[in-house]
Symmetry: C2
Amino acid sequence: MVTNLKHKDALLTLQKAGISKTSQRLAVLNILLKATTPLSVNTIRQSLGTKANIDKVTIYRILSLFRQRGIIREIASVGGANYFEMATLENPLHPHFSCRNCGAFTCLAPLPFTQAPELILSKNDYSIDHIEINISGLCACCRNSTKTQKTMI
Amino acid sequence: MVTNLKHKDALLTLQKAGISKTSQRLAVLNILLKATTPLSVNTIRQSLGTKANIDKVTIYRILSLFRQRGIIREIASVGGANYFEMATLENPLHPHFSCRNCGAFTCLAPLPFTQAPELILSKNDYSIDHIEINISGLCACCRNSTKTQKTMI
DNA sequence: ATAATTGTTGCAACTCGGTTGCATTTTTGA
DNA sequence: TCAAAAATGCAACCGAGTTGCAACAATTAT
Ligand SMILES: [Mn+2]
Ligand SMILES: [Mn+2]
Ligand SMILES: [Zn+2]
Ligand SMILES: [Zn+2]
């Protein structure tokens, strides 16, 4: 869903977030920028290929940093692996569809909640067996103890 | 959110699903029946305690069977562990809140989509940093190949 | 009643996603 | 250019979940 993005966007993203630019971070960011679906770490590693042989620990650390700075979103899956996608203004928060059979993740159009029922019913090319709505953040009892980490919806 | 449930409900649930009753399945089911939040496998194991020492593999197999038969729902989390809750008529599909700090899962009230924005804004005892809406099922290409497994929303 | 079959459990070993500690390399900034 | 700080790579580790197989329990056939 992220379109019309050029190579220079990766550098801009990093320096706007106040993150030092390294070849590894730029490589990972470029893959996320041109992706049209959320990516797992394994997919990112495969996309990097042998040309840029980045250690998996480095990838996890980069993704963790990007998520903390609000550059990317992290999406959970019942399969255990997490998925990542850009969290830009052009790519606002939206539902996802994951196939029970092949595990493929696809992005659904962002929509106001009031339009949700119609969208779900109109998606007759999917067979829906589970709708998951998870809201995460800080609960009341934890809110007072931790005063760090800004909200990044 | 499951209330007014007695010991006999576990047996009824099993025989209604056409599943043979064993002491292990009844023990796991009773824990899920009296739970007020989604439970992880570890929490279930701790609840079972030493009185009914069930192997973790057995618990996973029981939960997998229950999910296939539509007895329980499975909820993904970014932490890696999955959570389980009853999927009864009295406990319809609903959003969940998971705390970024302590990881606690709580059930939110089931609601039509049109009421979602108000609910989220009214929940000022939580600090929301992520709303996740995941729809899972079969994609178009997989729908034709696999004709098994009924829908269990 | 007994034997054969089927289904369920337990144990061990394993896979896979992700993390931690530490030494080495790279980036930054004076 | 050079030192301090940050980032990477490697190895070893951890936790969630799975697989294979033997032991056990419950059904069914003889
Ligand atoms: Mn998406
Ligand atoms: Mn719930
Ligand atoms: Zn598919
Ligand atoms: Zn909390």
